[in-house]
C-alpha cells in the first residue's frame, strides 16, 4: 500500500477565512477535487473544497465567507497509509487532511504540513486495482465510441436480431426485469418465443463451437425472464410518437401483422387490424394447442400491443366472398395496407377416400381445439392416424391423445431420425402413447359401406434424399418400393398434417406459381400502397420469422410513406456503456433444459414445459460467453508489449508494432486500439491492436496477463425511450385468446 507522501498533492492553493467564496471560486475550480488550505496567521486552520459552492449559493457567493463553510483539517504523517488517512477523515467529519513531514533537522520533534490529501485521492487508491474498470455511462445521443461493436453469432443468426448476449447477461446478474425489457426491444411475443422458437441463435452459439460443449439454452432463458415479469405483474407502456395523420390497414392479426402494427403505432401512425377470427394472434392463438404455452401470458402480450391504440376489427375477413372486406376498398381507404394472412388452411392430399367424414386437416383440427371445442367427429376412444411428421403433426397427435383417442399413429415419409418435428416434442408424444410408422407414403383412406373410415393404406418407400443445407426431404427422391405390400394402419379418424395453403385475399394480390404472394424481403409487391409479408410470402416458417417480417415491412411502409427515418421526433436516444461480467467459472456447468411435467400428468391440456428456478436460470445464463463484449484498450496506458497476443488461447489478438513487419495471425480486421508512444524513427514505438471477435471467447486471459492493466471488457448498447415499464393493469380480455 502506498504511503501518503506518494498520494498527496503538494501545498499550493490557499485562502483566508475572511475571503468571500466569489473571490476564491476560480481557485477552487482550478484545484478541484483538491481543496484549498485555509490559512490564518500563517497557520493552516482548515480546508475548503468546491462543494462549498452549494451552501454558499444560499446567501450568495458575494456574501458567503470561507470561515462559515470551511472544514477541519486533521494532520497526519506522510509515512502513514491511506487506511489511516481514511480513519482520520471519518473521525474528523472532514473530506480532506494535511500531510505532514518532519521539519527542523534530524533531532527535531516538529512537523509541518507539506501536502493535501482528500477523499477523491483515497477513492482513487481504493479503485486503483479494480479489474473491471470500464466506464459505466449513459451518454445522450448516438456517439461514435471510437471502437467497433461486435455483433454476436447468436444475434447474427436471429431473424429479429435480439440483443441476446445482453439479456442473458442480465439474467446472470439477477436483473430479470431489465432482461425482459431488452427482449421486448425487438420481440413483442417473448412468452411464445421463449417456449416455441426454433432458436436459430442456439445453432450458432459460440459456446457450442467447443468440442464437448453445448450451446447456451437461450430460448429458455428468455422464457424465464418473461415468466418473472408476468409473475411480478409488469407491463410495458409504449410511448407513441406524434400523430402522423396517416392510416395503415393490417390484414391478419398474427405475429407478423401485430409486430408491424406495433412498430407503426409507436411511430404515430393510425393502425387498424382486420382479423377474420374472433380473436387476434393468428397462428399463435388458433394453431398452437394449449399445452404448449400459457394462454394468459399470450393475452398479456397481445394486450400490451393493443393498448397502444391499435384498432382491431375481428371476424372481418378480407377476401372475395360476399360479406368480405375487399382489398381494393382497403387500398382506397388507407395510405398503406399490409397483408399478412399466413397459410392458415390445411391441405388434405387427394387420395381415394380423402373425402370421407372422419378425415380432417390438422389446421382445422387445431383451430377447433384452440376454441376449446372437440374437433369435428372426433370421439373419445377412437383410433387416430395422422399423416405427416412435422411440428403441426406432433401437436395434432398430442392433442388427440389428450382428447381421449385410444390409439394414435404418426405416419410419415421421412425416416424416424429425419423427421422435421423437434426431437423433444416427439419424445414427449411417445411418452404418452404415440406410435409411429415411418418411411411410408399414404395411398388410400379405407372406408366401409357406411362411409366410416376403417384404416389408411400406405406404400413403403426407398430411403429418400435430403437437402444438406435445409435438412428438408427432396421430393423427387421419394420412390415407392415396387411390388412391396401395402401397410394398412386400422383407424377411425384421419388427420392430414401434410402442408398448408394460403387463402387469397383477392385482387390485386400478386401471386407466384407456387400460390404464394409475390413480394420481396421488404414486403414490396409492386402494387402501390400494398405490402405483404410472413408465411403468405415465404411459405410455412417459424414464429420468429414472422416477427422478423413484421419489423421489415413496417420499416418499408414508413419509408414508403415518406417518413424521415433519421429524424429523432422528440425521442431520447442514448448510448449505454457498461461493464460485462466475468463468466469464466461457467465451464463448470452443463446445458440443461427446463423440466417438463411427468408423463402421467400430461394427459390433459396443462402446459407441459415448466419454468426454471432462479438458480437454474442464472447457472445457465452464466454459460454465455458474452460475445457482445468489446475489448477496451486504454491507449494512453498500453505499451504494445504483446503479452495479450502471446497468451490468447484462441489466437484472436494481434498486436502490431510498426516497423517490426510482423504478420497478423488472427485474421480479424477489427482494430480496437491505435497506440503511439512516439516516433518510431527516434526510438519511440507505435502500433495497433486487432481483435478477431469471431474467435474471441471473452476468457479474459489477456486481461489477467496485461502488465499495465489497460484492458477491460465492456458492452455498448444503443437505446431509446419507446418503452417504459409499469404495473400491469387488469387484462382487458376483450378479445380473449382462450375461448373456454
Amino acid at each position: 500500500m502506498a504511503d501518503l507522501a506518494n498520494l498527496m498533492a503538494p501545498l499550493g492553493g490557499e485562502c483566508s477565512p475572511a475571503d468571500r467564496i466569489a473571490d476564491i471560486l476560480d481557485d477552487l475550480r482550478a484545484e478541484h477535487p483538491i481543496p484549498l488550505a485555509v490559512t490564518s496567521d500563517e497557520e493552516i486552520v482548515g480546508t475548503i473544497g468546491l462543494e462549498a459552492v452549494i451552501p454558499a449559493l444560499g446567501p450568495g457567493l458575494d456574501t458567503a465567507r470561507v470561515r462559515d463553510l470551511m472544514r477541519p483539517a486533521p494532520l497526519l504523517d506522510g509515512g502513514q497509509t491511506p487506511l489511516h488517512a481514511a480513519a482520520a477523515l471519518v473521525a474528523a467529519g472532514s473530506n480532506a487532511l494535511l500531510v505532514t513531514a518532519p521539519a527542523g533537522g534530524p533531532f527535531s520533534r516538529r512537523t509541518e504540513p507539506v501536502g493535501r490529501l482528500c477523499e477523491a485521492q483515497i477513492l482513487a487508491e481504493i479503485g486503483r486495482n479494480v479489474v473491471d474498470k470500464a466506464p459505466m455511462k449513459i451518454l445522450r445521443g448516438w456517439r461514435d465510441m471510437g471502437f467497433n461493436v461486435p455483433i454476436s453469432p447468436c444475434q447474427r443468426n436471429c431473424p429479429i436480431k435480439q440483443d441476446i448476449a445482453t439479456y442473458v447477461d442480465y439474467v446472470s446478474q439477477g436483473r430479470y426485469v431489465d432482461s425482459w425489457m431488452v427482449i421486448h426491444e425487438t420481440n413483442p411475443f417473448p412468452s411464445m418465443l421463449g417456449r416455441l422458437c426454433n432458436h436459430p441463435c442456439e445453432t450458432d452459439c459460440k459456446r457450442g463451437w467447443d468440442p464437448g460443449e453445448d450451446p447456451v439454452t437461450i430460448k429458455s432463458i428468455k422464457r424465464f425472464s418473461t415468466d418473472f415479469a408476468w409473475k411480478q405483474g409488469l407491463w410495458i407502456d409504449y410511448k407513441i410518437g406524434p400523430d402522423r395523420r396517416q392510416r395503415i390497414a393490417v390484414v391478419g392479426g398474427g405475429p407478423a401483422g401485430l409486430t408491424a402494427a406495433l412498430d407503426l403505432r409507436v411511430q404515430g401512425y393510425e393502425v387498424v387490424v382486420y382479423e377474420r377470427e374472433a380473436k387476434v394472434g393468428g397462428l399463435l392463438s388458433t394453431s398452437i394447442p394449449p399445452f404448449r404455452f400459457d394462454h394468459k401470458q399470450l393475452q398479456w402480450e397481445l394486450d400490451m400491443i393493443l393498448a397502444t391504440g391499435i384498432e382491431v376489427r375481428t371476424s372481418a375477413n378480407v377476401g372475395v366472398d360476399d360479406g368480405d372486406v375487399k382489398l381494393t376498398d382497403l387500398l382506397d381507404e388507407y395510405d398503406a395496407v399490409f397483408v399478412s394472412i399466413g397459410m392458415m388452411k390445411g391441405r388434405i392430399l387427394p387420395v381415394p377416400g380423402s373425402d370421407a367424414k372422419n378425415v380432417i386437416d390438422a389446421m382445422t383440427f387445431l383451430r377447433q381445439v384452440s376454441y376449446d371445442r372437440m374437433p369435428d367427429n372426433l370421439q373419445v376412444g377412437m383410433r387416430v392416424v395422422c399423416v405427416g411428421g412435422g411440428a403441426i403433426a406432433t401437436d395434432a397427435v398430442q392433442s388427440s391423445i389428450k382428447l381421449g383417442a385410444k390409439e394414435v399413429w404418426m405416419c410419415a415419409i421421412e425416416p424416424e431420425d429425419r423427421l422435421p418435428a423437434f426431437g423433444n416434442e416427439l419424445h414427449e408424444a411417445r411418452e404418452i402413447g404415440l406410435r409411429m410408422r415411418t418411411g411410408i407414403i399414404v395411398k388410400e383412406i379405407l372406408v366401409d359401406d357406411s362411409g366410416q373410415v376403417t384404416g389408411v393404406a400406405f406404400a413403403p418407400l426407398h430411403e429418400p434424399q435430403f437437402d444438406e443445407l435445409s435438412g428438408k426431404i427432396i421430393f423427387s427422391s421419394v420412390k415407392e418400393i415396387e411390388g412391396a405390400e401395402r401397410v394398412v394402419v386400422p383407424c377411425d379418424y384421419v388427420i392430414f398434417a401434410s402442408g398448408q395453403i394460403m387463402e387469397g385475399a383477392g385482387d390485386p394480390l400478386p401471386l407466384t406459381p407456387r400460390g404464394l404472394v409475390a413480394a420481396d424481403r421488404g414486403g414490396h409487391t409492386g402494387v402501390p400502397r400494398l405490402f405483404c409479408g410472413g408465411d403468405c410470402v415465404q411459405g410455412p416458417s417459424f414464429i420468429v420469422d414472422a416477427v422478423g417480417w413484421g419489423h421489415r415491412v413496417a420499416r418499408s411502409i414508413r419509408e414508403y410513406l415518406g417518413e424521415d427515418m433519421e429524424a429523432d421526433d422528440g425521442r431520447l436516444y442514448q448510448t449505454i456503456v457498461e461493464r460485462t461480467d466475468d463468466h469464466r467459472l461457467s465451464e463448470n456447468f452443463a446445458r440443461t433444459e427446463p423440466p417438463i411435467l411427468e408423463a402421467a400428468q400430461r394427459y390433459d391440456m396443462s402446459e407441459v414445459e415448466q419454468s426454471w428456478s432462479d438458480r437454474e436460470a442464472i447457472v445457465q445464463a452464466i454459460r454465455c460467453f458474452q460475445c457482445d463484449s468489446v475489448h477496451h484498450y486504454d491507449s494512453e496506458v498500453c505499451v504494445l508489449c504483446g503479452a495479450c497476443d502471446d497468451v490468447c488461447p484462441e489466437k484472436a489478438i494481434d498486436v502490431v508494432v510498426f516497423g517490426e513487419d510482423r504478420e497478423r495471425s488472427s485474421g480479424g480486421d477489427t482494430m480496437v486500439c491505435a497506440t503511439s508512444g512516439g516516433d518510431p524513427a527516434t526510438g519511440g514505438y507505435a502500433g495497433e491492436i486487432y481483435i478477431n471477435y469471431d474467435r474471441c471467447t471473452n476468457c479474459r486471459i489477456c486481461e489477467d496477463h496485461c502488465p499495465v492493466n489497460c484492458i477491460t471488457f465492456e458492452r455498448v448498447r444503443f437505446v431509446d425511450d419507446i418503452m417504459r415499464v409499469a404495473e400491469m393493469p387488469e387484462l382487458r380480455e376483450l378479445i380473449p385468446v382462450a375461448a373456454g
Partner: protein, 162 residues
C-alpha cells in the same frame, strides 16, 4: 411609464441568470448497478470527479452511493487496498446494494437551476440526476457544473444567488 431598464441591451435574459437544468448539466450519466462492487464505484467516482454515484437498474434510478460510505467501508476493513499492477487484490464482497442510500435526488431537465440547487442545499446533496420525462436519466448536475455556471455568472457580473 416605461421601465427603461427593460430596454438595456446588456440586461441578461432570465434564462441566462437561472437557466433550465438541461442547459447546465453534465451530458452523461455515470452510474453503477446494485451489484457493482464498491471499489469499482470508488474508481468511477475518482475518474469522474464525483462524490455520489446513482444506482440504476437498467435506466431506472433506485438510489445512490455516497463516497463517505465507501471510505467508511474501507476504514472498517471490508474493502482492501493491496496488490500492484500485476498482483491484484481480491475483489470486495461489498456491493452497491449494501451501502445504497435512497431516494435519489431527481430533477427534471426543464427545472430551473436555482430551484434544484436549493433542493440540493436543503438535502445536503452534491449530485442531482437529471431526468427526461420522469423516465430516463439524461445527465447529472454536480458541484462542478454548478460552480462553472456560477463562475460564468460572476464574470458577466450577474447575480449568482441561488
Amino acid at each position: 411609464m416605461t421601465d427603461l431598464s427593460l430596454l438595456d441591451p446588456a440586461r441578461e435574459a432570465p434564462d441566462a441568470i437561472d437557466p433550465v437544468v438541461a442547459d447546465v448539466m453534465r451530458d452523461e450519466v455515470v452510474f453503477c448497478l446494485p451489484s457493482t462492487p464498491v471499489d469499482a464505484i470508488a474508481k468511477l467516482m475518482a475518474d469522474n470527479l464525483l462524490t455520489e454515484v446513482p444506482v440504476l437498474i437498467d435506466r431506472r434510478p433506485v438510489g445512490y452511493v455516497a463516497s463517505g460510505d465507501i471510505v467508511e467501508q474501507f476504514v472498517e476493513g471490508r474493502v482492501q487496498v493491496a496488490g500492484s499492477d500485476v498482483v491484484r487484490p481480491q475483489p470486495t464482497d461489498v456491493l452497491a446494494r449494501d451501502v445504497l442510500r435512497h431516494p435519489p435526488l431527481l430533477a427534471d431537465e426543464g427545472a430551473r437551476l436555482g430551484e434544484v440547487v436549493a433542493t440540493m442545499r436543503a438535502q445536503g446533496r452534491t449530485m442531482a440526476l437529471v431526468m427526461h420525462e420522469d423516465t430516463h436519466p439524461v445527465g447529472m448536475l454536480t458541484v462542478w457544473e454548478i460552480a462553472n455556471h456560477a463562475a460564468a455568472q460572476l464574470r458577466r457580473g450577474g447575480a449568482a444567488d441561488g
